[in-house]
Amino acid sequence: MKRRIGQKIFLSGVVVSFLFITGVFSVQAREKTVILATTTSTQDSGLLDVLLPIFEKETGYFVKTIAVGSGQAMAMGEKGEADVLLVHSPEAEKKFMAEGYGINRRLVMHNDFIIVGPPGDPGKIKGAKSCVESFKKIASAKALFFSRGDHSGTDVKEKAIWEAAGINPEGEKWYRETGLGMGQTLNVAAEKKGITLTDRGTYLALKKNLGLDILVEGDAVLLNIYHVIEVSPGKWPRVNSAGAKAFAGFMVSKETQGVIKTFGVDKFGSPLFFPDAGKKDEELGEKIITKFQAPKSK
């Protein structure tokens, strides 16, 4: 009797595992899959969770989002491991385009970077107009500063500001690299009461648990621009260029731009991103920055 029960258990185990395997191994047709390499901010803020279902429903494509830093996203593009990129590291993007890895780089949206830190303001930088000046103050005050250290768009921006300030913080005791995404780095900064550079979207999305204040904002240097780039099929024939084109087109379409414009307003009292499709990079000057001077707060 016992043996029979054992056999039954075994048999049902086989049947169940067979069902599992057929379920798991039903892979999507390859040409219907688009690999999107993007920054953590678009995922952590929840924007993609809103946009992707619309795109998938409209076109029938299935988007595989790989949320990494902009640096890694572009490295994936260079190797043809991604079809389309949504990134925010303009200098690196220009290099990427110049080397022929991408086509059709188009402006999608912007928000801005901000310097956040504990309410005590250890670097005495609150309200400073110049970002470079405040970085100098942080360095001379030896205030604890957290860097992403992951070659992401934010990280590249931060390194550029240090360079402009003529300071090399690398290896300093007060300068620490987390090697994590934006959300996690903000959490670390909150926990250790440190200062960090963040994009406004991720900060607003996490604000309620952080206890970090905005210390510096509104400097033109702090503009954070997102571009969509299709990975060039010329270098890597396996790249799904039709899917990439569809996705890039979707990101700059009127409907999507409308969604971006209102995304986050109900939850945070102000939008997380500002749609810019069709504009030129140069138009995004100080004019837009002023918009951030008085963020609505709820």
């Binding site: 892979v27 969770d49 595989k64």
Partner: protein
Amino acid sequence: MDLILEGIKKAFWLLITFDPEVMGITLLSLEVSGIATLVSLLIGISTGVTVALSRFIGKRMVVSLINTGMGLPPVVVGLFVTLFLWRNGPLGFLEILYTPTAMVIAQTIIATPIVMGITLAAIQQLPQKLRLQILSLGATRLQMVWILIKEAKLPLLAAVMAGFGGVISEVGASIMVGGNIKGYSRVLTTATVLETSRGNFDVAIALGIILLLLAYLVNLILTQIQQRERPR
């Protein structure tokens, strides 16, 4: 403290309302880690028994390699599986990177040495003379192996638990080869990472609790089987 209570409440709520997304994530965790464990049992037990019962030059070397493999870091496995499955990698033509299949492969690689190592130890600790006795009673070699496996049932079920426990709780490889894609390759551990980085600590705690519950349930069932007939 509030946050933890909030998380427990959230977990309870997600469970009783059968939240479709959380259910999907939970089922996928179970599927991926379940299949990986099954496959690793097939490979691990057969190889483990073979190595335990045979004598060859360099056996100690092989055994020490297997034992090292028991501590294989998931991120390293994830990295190598990614490199192999990349479009331009040696197995790129399969086009299975960022799929649950790739996660099954990575988790199988993690679980197999664990199962193998425990099997090896379990079979080796059986008295040497038992083998001779079984054979002298007229059993074929295959029958002998089967009896030995049955003798080592307790530690072998421990191997199942260790293997399953190792992969269901693993995050490094799953996030690298699965990509943590919503509704497709997102499992409990990778979802917990994401919700933590989003600052949704209550959801993260809830997912953690569900993961613990799941691991507990599976181990409860396995322990029931293991302890059913207490030997001697």
